[in-house]
Amino acid sequence: MHQQKQPIQTALCKALTLAGCIATLGQTVGAAQPASTTQHLQLKDNNWEGSLILQGVYYHSDKDDDHHEHGDEHDHDHGHGDDHDHGSHDHGNHDHGHMVTLPGFPAGSHQHSFKDGLQAGHIEAVVSGNITPHLNARVTTAMLDTDHGLEVELEEAFVESASLGYGTNIKLGRFFSDIGYLSSKHNHEWDFSDTPLVYEGMFGSHTNDDGLQFSVVAPTDTFMQFGVELFKGDKFPANDSGNTIGASSFFAKVGGDIGTDHSWQAGIGHWRAGDVNNREGALHEHPRPDGSMHSVTPEFSGDSKINTVGAVYKWAPNGNPKERNFTLQGEYFQRDEGGDIAMIETQNGSTARQFTYNGEQYGWYVQGVYQFRPHWRVGLRHDRLGSDNRLSNPDGSAVSEHALSAAGLADHGHDPKRNTVMVDYSPREYSRWRLQYNQDEHQPETDHQVILEYTHSFGSHGAHSF
């Protein structure tokens, strides 16, 4: 048992450094093992595979970064995520990267938004393989250069059963949740350079957390899968639950074919965290008329629940997607939150005010991607968000619009939306160039964004799921 684990453990260590990864790849390529599970009969030293996925981006936005951060039309200045250094304790959610402010959506998520100009973006190192014939493992680390230096994020690190039987699978460790269609996809699998706004608003950049997933596929001709996930609950929109299981989810997926040309999948999901503690929002800071500074950060404690529904339809003539194919997908997420919001003074950490909070946020996207000839695809996407947040004083009386704004929950009468068009060219399976344009109205004023992105991968990291 210990001997069998050795290659994977070595792999894990190596995956954490760039140089290590290249060494990993060298071995994989040298051993000439393709991404095949047909050779699992005997356990070999090289029964794992590694890959490194390089993404780079040239990004141009009409707005400079500062505007991008807040940009609501209040006459005083709201601070932004990068300088909310107010000596509060670390909740681990947003110490790096930008805070993307979506009006009406509580901030607090860790978000990898683009910086203007050229940047060697998101680099994924993936190592996977089988530990025993009954246990597979996969580790995905992402590296990116931020304003705070090189950031390494452990996106996934899990072991997964390979042969429990009866259609069941158990996954243990850190993994991407399956409650949405895109939720389990890595950046390089996205059809657009950025994630739909609703994913940013609901979960931040990724839906990963530490925990356990149990799923079962029904023995039916129509694909039916049910799953339960139990999470530690430390990732946005959960925070610091203090419980062993701080968040949980349930999902169901159905799918099938219509003839040889059409296939589909639909799913629903429910995610909840019953014990969210001190989830920090964005710093609210401006000078008062008397010249003193008003500087507070909202902290939410309570429960958060998300419902998801989504569907994907794919078309490929004769079931051959290589020449031409079309994918249409859409998802709708809705979140209910209830609890208290404490406004924490930057200066002394004391609670300036306390509100009762009942909020609803929702959003959807629809996208279509058409491969009109080998290697070439075009895509369109529409994003839209909305919210209905209510704050009241502990005695039940209504609060001012300013208080709602200070709590980071005001939508200022604006429903965020975005239109996206992209074209990409993949000369090889492991090489892709993409040009994308966003007409981004997540803030009231429209921002025009142009993204030029390349994605190249070395090694093999297994096939992409439907």
């Binding site: 069941t168 129509t222 049910f226 339960v228 799918g255 074919d257 020449e323 799921s465």
Partner: protein
């Protein structure tokens, strides 16, 4: 609150498990390609229900692990695929997502046909500059009936192992099939004798076993490298090369885009022949016997055309 979700999940999985108690009368075979479904049906007869994950008009390299295929893999008692990396883009996902223990590697229900035969084109080394090359060797073995007969034997043994109650049926049906098949091979070899030594240009290197069997000679490929679609530069250089080493026909599979083959045919006057690479590739190739009948007939027609 978390408990409610857990119990809901457990309830649902309980319901599914209880439905497993229903006895399955037939051995369910999921074949990755139509030829193995046809072979399983021929050897398994009435005791077997065989389905194929792909059709004769699909490129088995590049299909998706669709939900319907996961559902089929979930229920299969025996999985038979080509292996040698042909299905690497989707089979690992089916195996993982199906949660079906019976068809996992190492089990009796996991059969890779390429393990039962000697492969050709085994590269001494593989790197990406070579295109889509299979490290274990060329996987397109189904197009040699002699190798197919070897797979039939292993398939029979697996069916015996999985469904011992009907072992004598499988042995008997296999014997009958092997007998008929041997006679058919003799007939095909007879018919195809005039094709021996003919040069062919192929779209993809998927006919090496046919070439090996019938003595055809592969002059060149339309793809510049395996899995890389034909380019105009490659086709023009191919056109020049053909003046040095002549060929007598251009061969492409039913699932491949015929444009490149037709373009070259227009430039050279060589006939472009669409061949079924498996059962269902053409209307005439409705089973394993008619598959090879049709292949040889189409080759003969091309040879006869001026």
């Amino acid at each position: 609150m978390q408990l409610r979700i857990i119990s809901l999940g457990l309830l649902l999985s309980g319901l599914i498990w209880s439905s497993l108690g229903l006895a399955q009368a037939k051995v369910r075979v999921l074949a990755c390609e139509p030829e193995w479904a046809a072979l399983a049906q021929a050897v398994g007869g009435a005791n077997v229900q065989a389905r194929s994950a792909t059709t004769g008009l699909q490129d088995p390299h590049y299909i998706e692990a669709r939900p319907s295929l996961i559902a089929q893999a979930r229920q299969a008692d025996l999985l038979i695929c080509t292996g040698a990396g042909l299905e690497e883009g989707w089979l690992p996902l089916l195996l993982q997502k199906s949660g079906n223990r019976r068809i996992q590697a190492g089990q009796a229900g996991h059969l890779m046909a390429s393990d039962a035969v000697q492969l050709l084109d085994i590269p001494s080394h593989v790197d990406r500059s070579m295109g889509h090359v299979h490290a274990q060797g060329n996987p397109h073995i189904q197009i040699d009936p002699r190798r197919l007969a070897q797979v039939a034997t292993v398939l029979m043994q697996r069916l015996v192992q999985i469904d011992l109650d009907n072992a004598s049926d499988y042995r008997q049906q296999h014997q009958q099939f092997a007998q008929r098949w041997k006679q058919a091979i003799q007939r095909w070899e007879q018919q195809a004798r005039p094709l021996r030594g003919q040069g062919i240009v192929v779209h993809h290197k998927s006919w090496v076993y046919l070439e090996d069997w019938l003595g055809l000679i592969q002059v060149d490929t339309l793809e510049p490298k395996p899995g890389i679609p034909p380019t105009t530069t490659h086709l023009s250089s191919l056109l020049q090369d053909l003046q040095q080493t002549p060929a007598s026909m251009i061969v492409y599979a039913a699932y491949q885009n015929p444009q490149a083959a037709q373009w070259l045919s227009g430039k050279t006057g060589l006939p472009a022949v669409k061949l079924p690479s498996t059962v269902g590739g053409t209307a005439a190739a409705s089973d394993l016997f008619t598959l090879f009948d049709d292949i040889i007939q189409r080759l003969q027609q091309a040879q006869a055309s001026p």
